[in-house]
């Protein structure tokens, strides 16, 4: 096998007849007042030799990795398949890339978290995490990660006030849940179901808290929480079906997210149950595919992409300024009306 030797600064220097440092300076745009002549020669040598800076050397010298890690703690191997995650990661990745940083992406089940490369080795300048699991589990995770030297951003979860080198960025899921529950209760619903997943996600829990706080104020209205064993289509449907078999059709199903809502709608319609006449349904997140539902879903618009971008901005600012300027950022959610309620 023929491996071409990599082109280094030294090669460029030799070719252009200047010193290594001059090349480095030209490449990094320092010494603007360098001779136009030498600048040209260097640039020519760079492109004719196909020089690319070796980021290992640069990183070692500068003690910076020019990369941020995003960890998604999720038992599913298709950890990134969820629309929320997808938007969050896209926003984060784009912002970092536009600012000279790479995004290192890794999904992991909780029990493997401590063994992942990003944590065992020092290879990123900052860490972002989007974590599922029980509250206790999540707290332990944040605790562990905040012991590492990298600044940490936690998405979609609230932190205890302790740690100043951790920033949480989340959206107002509780308010969103409250708004939807209020609408449903106002419309006269008595029996209300919150249909969520057995595997705990902090956002789903926050939505539930919001819903509870609303329903509490409607004495004639009762709330039942149903947990689907996992997030796939059939699991959600079976969960709802078996509840209805035992307790009859409720007045409303508040779903933890749009996927759940659509699965519920499909099953209800298949049974000949009418939406919204016989039952109201709401979702959460309002990404494009919420429109795939019939009738169109009443749901909350989540700013996931913007939160990803913001995470990138904040973590780069943190590196520059040495500390987070804030500890907790909460983004608003917005009602998107459909015909399911």
């Amino acid at each position: 096998m023929l491996t071409l030797k990599r082109v280094t600064l030294k090669d460029v220097a030799k070719k252009s007849g200047v010193s290594v440092m001059t090349v480095s300076n030209v490449i990094n745009g320092k010494f603007q007042h360098a001779t136009e002549e030498t600048r040209k020669r260097v640039e020519q040598a760079v492109s004719s030799l196909g020089y690319r800076t070796n980021l290992s050397g640069k990183s070692l010298r500068l003690a910076r990795r020019f990369a941020v890690g995003m960890i998604i703690v999720d038992p599913s191997p298709t950890f990134i398949a969820d629309a929320y995650t997808t938007n969050l990661v896209a926003g984060l990745s784009n912002f970092l890339n536009l600012n000279g940083y790479g995004l290192l992406l890794q999904g992991t089940p909780l029990r493997e978290l401590s063994n992942i490369m990003m944590l065992r080795q020092s290879l990123v300048d900052g860490l972002c995490i989007f974590c599922s699991g029980t509250r206790t589990e999540r707290r332990a995770v944040y605790e562990e990660l905040s012991k590492h030297s990298e600044p940490l951003i936690v998405f979609q979860d609230k932190l205890d006030a302790e740690n100043k080198s951790v920033l949480s960025i989340r959206q107002d899921d509780a308010v969103g849940g409250r708004i939807l529950a209020n609408m449903v209760a106002e419309s006269g619903a008595r029996k209300v179901v919150y249909l969520t997943l057995a595997h705990p996600w902090p956002a789903l829990e926050a939505r539930e808290r919001g819903i509870r706080s609303s329903i509490r104020r409607w004495p004639a209205t009762s709330l039942t929480v149903l947990q689907a064993p996992n997030g796939d289509f059939e699991s959600v449907q079976v969960t709802l079906a078996s509840y209805i078999a035992r307790h009859g059709v409720p007045d409303a199903v508040l779903a933890g997210n749009d996927q759940i809502a659509i699965a519920a709608q499909c099953w209800l319609l298949d049974q000949g149950i009418r939406i919204p006449e016989d039952i109201k349904v709401t979702g959460f997140n309002a990404f494009d595919f919420a429109r795939y539902a019939r009738p169109t879903l009443t749901t909350m618009k989540s700013p996931a992409y913007e939160m990803g971008e913001l995470g990138g901005r904040e973590i780069l600012a943190r590196m520059e300024k040495g500390r987070f300027l804030r500890r907790d950022i909460v983004m608003p959610v917005r009602l998107q009306r459909g015909n399911s309620l």
Copy 2:
């Protein structure tokens, strides 16, 4: 700002009273036959000091980056929002992570491609690309990337035979298209529409080729290709609606993927057009959310996650063995029957 000095091998060596090399060897599991005694001491020092290996130093010394880059060429900022991409990336990421490599993820519009860090700097050991654009544009991209020293895997596109250091991994979209078109034609459809996106993706083109090759064999059946200006729900619906306004309801809509199919179905049902009685509809990919359609979609199951995993396996093998053992891997697709046909 208080920055703790990073713990290095030297610190561990000092603390445990051995040489730096011994520490390195213990950490890397070399010299299994090292004195149990010293091994213990080193391990204790490592954990008490919280030592983590600095990957910059290691990378520089070994001339390996322990990272693979995945580039997605897509004009949309939410480049990763598509279910196909999502599954591909998840499979790739998981495989790499399990084998000691990181995945660096970046989406970019075509015109920015040449400027991205992954290409300007040397920072990954291998490159994967999932590229949209016209055939000519894509060829130019592969041409450019294959000039870099990193081994390259191209997903979902066929390459010209030239370059031995490039591997393409794709699925049999043409066969999938042909199977669906045959089923539709066999069921008696005369006017058939292929509903796809204006922005070119190689997989959508391959499906179209398969469909054409099928329809050609049915003299009584004609094919029209419709291109939605972009992939969102409404754009697809408007495209179909305006065709039907001019030409009436066709006998079948073959959609480029499931999202398109579902958008079409929603619109058709809203118009009171019955599926499959008045019109047949098919999709492509069959990820979980294909089930959100009513009636359930007849579609092809795509092995995107497995292709991602395979890509990881092949690129790591390439690094080890110095060359790809194959040049082109084609994975089968599988019919998934629903009630839309």
